[in-house]
């Protein structure tokens, strides 16, 4: 169990020259500046110390010191410490060592900055284009400051993404871009032998809308929470909260306790509706529409409650920097208690009805198996990890908002399959109801809900926050800027790491299990893709999209 001092001293001692500076923002946030040559060794050392890889952030710092910055972030779950490893490479020669060979989850982050910033990573196992569309011209990196946010290069028809080599004797079944399993466009190429899956490749990033670039260039601090909320239509508050907390941390803003409690309530209400939604979708995916209908019926009062509280069913718009927008009045408090009481009661009925259903067990037990060791290696998060015996929960490990005063259990199962994720989510819903009750009980009765800011937010401060979304942890990294807007804002949604683990889960399962396995991570592609662009256009008939298949088959006759 290394404390913050130990981490600091350990790194300093072992890598004397490579560690340039160490900054301790507060007892839970550590920033270490290092030289880019040693990045791989130092990352390995941090993993060996018990760190868990979160995400990498690249940013354009050319106007200041002609470098491209790169930040790898790690979390020490047991100590509640976030460590950011900051390094930079000169613009003229933007090459650094890849950490992907040791930390497979960094693969996407690094590919992201290959395209968006034009960095190069030596030793990357799959240096393919992940982010930019295949017809996007070479040498234009949208995240660089000299590229305007509304640049639109013309589309080209003849470029195609090269999917992975299909294993011998297998055929390719494309899942997507439009497929009823995926309510959003994304493409999985599943390599099957008969009906058994031998491998898969992912090509998604189709809902990328360039949000980060837009917010960095066009909007000011307090508009971004509303855009952040629209990163994802299901866990909007999570992103808004996480972003606001990051700016507050960077700017040293203290928000009132009451506002923190209201944020907690919003987050938990969101968790209830998201988990019920997922339960329904999971039922739908295994062809059990009655579960779908019933759990969405139970969910509906929660949506109405949200509407009464905040003015919208889903994009609550409650959270702004400095606090929240609307208060919880005594009437609304009563309302919340009524609704969650009813939901709890009905959910209990559902739980009893489906828990022992052997027909459901048959479709979920033993499906999507990933060993605990692999889960840790691939840094999977959220219910997906908790169903695979990895006991992590940001709410408990790195308390934020009012979670430090809440008492709740973190359900963890060790059957490592889809059924465990069902159970984790079911039990978490009950925990969420418990937390809301505690919040309403302990909430300070009065006090401001919005902190007035006296001075502008200082520039070039870094801050990292994580919030436990229904799907896992959301990580936001903010570098404050001069013009009342962030210089860099990086969002990592929980689906981002989890999706990288899907090929692992698919391996060896049946084709019919693809929907429920992909569904079991509760994929949210819009969260994941907010930064990436990827195009799917393929010459081969078998890997083409749905529409193209039809087109091609028509021409072939």
């Amino acid at each position: 169990m290394p404390g913050i001092e130990e981490i600091k001293n350990g790194l300093k001692k072992k890598f004397k020259d490579a560690v340039v500076a160490v900054e301790e923002q507060n007892p839970t946030r550590l920033f270490v500046d290092i030289k880019s040559a040693k990045v791989r060794e130092i990352s390995n050392e941090i993993i060996a110390m018990g760190g868990r890889y979160l995400v990498s952030i690249g940013y354009d710092n050319i106007s200041r010191d002609k470098t491209l910055g790169m930040i790898h972030t790690f979390g020490f779950d047991r100590d509640g410490i976030f460590l950011s490893l900051r390094t930079a490479v000169p613009e003229s020669k933007p090459v650094m060592d890849s950490i992907t060979p040791d930390i497979p989850n960094a693969g996407w982050s690094e590919r992201e900055y290959m395209d968006l910033l034009g960095m190069k990573f030596t030793g990357h196992p799959k240096p393919k284009r992940l982010i930019l569309a295949d017809d996007w011209p070479e040498g234009v990196h949208p995240l660089r400051k000299d590229i305007p946010w509304n640049l639109m290069p013309p589309a080209a028809e003849d470029v195609a993404y090269q999917l992975d080599e299909c294993p011998e004797g297998c055929s390719i079944v494309p899942v997507g871009p439009y497929h009823p399993t995926l309510h959003e466009p994304a493409h999985f190429a599943v390599y099957v032998d008969g009906e058994t899956i031998k491998g898969s490749d992912y090509r998604g990033f189709m809902t990328h809308r360039g949000i980060e670039k837009l917010c960095q260039t066009q909007l000011t601090y307090n508009e971004i929470p509303f855009v952040a909320e629209r990163i994802c239509g299901i866990c909007g508050s999570v992103h808004a909260t996480s972003y606001s907390q990051a700016v507050e941390l960077a700017g040293g803003i203290k928000i009132s306790r009451r506002a923190e409690y209201i944020r907690t309530i919003m987050l938990e209400i969101e968790r209830i509706h998201s988990h019920l939604l997922w339960l329904g979708v999971a039922g739908h995916l295994i062809g059990f529409d009655t579960v779908f209908m019933q759990s969405w019926r139970i969910r509906e009062p929660i949506m109405w409650l949200g509407e009464r509280m905040t003015g919208n069913r889903k994009t609550y718009g409650m959270i702004v920097i400095g606090g929240v927008r609307r208060d919880i009045t005594p009437e609304i408090k009563e309302d919340i208690l009524n609704v969650i009481g009813k939901v709890e009661e009905e959910l209990l009925t559902v739980q009893k009805a489906i828990q022992g259903d052997s027909a459901i067990h048959r479709r979920t037990k033993g499906v999507g198996y990933v060993s605990t060791a692999d889960t840790v290696l691939w840094s999977l998060v959220g219910p997906v990890a908790r169903a695979r015996n990895v006991d992590i929960d940001v709410r408990r490990d790195y308390p934020y908002a009012a979670y430090d005063e809440m008492k709740f259990d973190v359900p963890v199962f060790d059957s490592n399959d889809v059924w465990a994720t069902v159970l984790v989510r079911l039990l978490e819903t009950f925990e969420a109801i418990k937390i809301i009750r505690q919040c309403l009980d302990k909430m300070p009765n009065d006090g401001p809900i919005l902190t007035e800011l006296e001075a502008p937010i200082p520039a070039l401060k870094h801050a990292l926050t994580a919030v436990e979304a229904p799907r896992g942890e959301v990580v936001h990294y903010v570098i404050t800027g001069e013009e009342n807007a962030p210089e860099r804002w990086r969002v990592r949604a929980p689906t981002y790491p989890n999706l990288q683990g899907v090929p692992l889960m698919l391996l060896g399962n049946q084709l019919a299990d693809v929907p429920i396995i992909i569904g079991s991570i509760d994929p949210c592609f819009s969260c994941t893709d907010r930064m990436e662009i990827v195009d799917l256009r393929s010459g081969a008939a078998k890997t083409a999209s749905q529409g193209e298949l039809e087109e091609l088959s028509r021409n072939k006759r």
Binding site: I172, V173, H179, L549, S553, R554
Partner: protein
């Protein structure tokens, strides 16, 4: 008169099959706590599909497959002695013909799917094929059991065997097997594997649009009603008054009851995987073989 009965048979199936489909959809809705579509909804659907544009995605086989499917099931229907009264055509066919015609319907679906060259259609076709191979034997055993009882391959005799002969243990066993296979015959959950919407987007029918799809949908509806009617005719000889119209009415009510059963089972079960379904079918085949064996020994 005989010709008239055959025509009435076909007409009843043609007009009532969508209605029963509507009943099933309504019941699904009720189980799911919602109001559901009007009972006549399937008629609207069929009419609308007829008015849509046909986008052909394959060769001549693609176009001909839906007609073949519908034609085969209509022929099978015209052979059926509904209301315990044999029609004009019944004497020209035997139970082998019926099995053959039902298989032909399945084969047409395969033909249509394979000629559309769509990956999902291919997957759907392969699943359909497995389903045909595994489920047809159960159907055949049912007929063989009847034939053994009646000591004749004629349709009316073997179907009405439970009326004439004793019901017997073998018959009860077969009834259970048939009930368990019913969902597979009518392609409803948990055995709607070939048409699985979320996995392979209605599989074999994915490329069909407009009238082609309408014919296939009609085929599926009539097929469902045929199996329900078959079940009623073979296993539920509650009333045989001898009056054609009364028998017919009673049978139709019984068919309705079977559809209610189908809806309730379908709406409370998730879909099975193909490998799990195959195991399940294998048990059914074994059980039906046992039933036939028992019949031979007259149990």
């Amino acid at each position: 008169m005989d010709i008239l009965i055959a025509v009435i048979n076909v007409l009843i199936f043609l007009t009532l099959a969508p209605l029963f489909e509507g009943v099933v959809r309504k019941l699904y809705a009720k189980v799911q706590s919602r109001q559901g579509p009007p009972i006549v909804q399937p008629y609207y659907d069929l009419l609308k599909l007829l008015g849509k544009e046909t986008l052909s995605a394959g060769n001549w086989a693609f176009r001909i497959a839906p007609m073949m499917a519908l034609a085969s099931i209509i022929t099978a229907v015209s052979l059926m002695p509904l209301g315990y009264t044999a029609g004009f055509l019944t004497q020209y066919g035997d139970i082998i013909t019926v099995i053959y015609l039902l298989t032909l319907g399945g084969v047409s679906v395969l033909l249509g799917a394979l000629s559309s060259k769509n990956t999902y259609a291919m997957v759907g076709a392969s699943r359909e094929m497995v389903t045909i191979i595994m489920v047809e034997p159960v159907l055949a055993m049912t007929f063989i059991l009847g034939a053994l009882k009646a000591k004749s391959l004629a349709i009316d005799a073997s179907m009405a065997s439970s009326l004439s002969g004793s019901y017997g243990f073998s018959m009860v066993l077969m009834l259970v097997v048939f009930l368990m296979a019913l969902q597979a015959f009518v392609a409803r959950q948990p055995f709607d594997i070939a048409e699985a919407e979320v996995e392979i987007m209605e599989g074999p029918f994915i490329e069909y649009s407009g009238p082609g799809l309408a014919l296939f949908k009609y085929y599926m509806m009539i097929k469902q009603m045929f199996y329900a009617a078959l079940f009623v005719a073979v296993f539920v000889p509650i009333v045989n008054t001898g009056y054609y119209l009364v028998d017919m009415a009673v049978q139709l009510v019984e068919i309705l009851v079977v559809f209610v059963l189908i809806a309730v089972l379908g709406s409370t079960n998730p879909r099975l995987r193909i490998d799990q379904a195959v195991k399940y079918y294998a048990i059914l085949i074994a059980a039906s073989l046992v039933a036939v064996g028992l019949t031979v020994y007259g149990i």
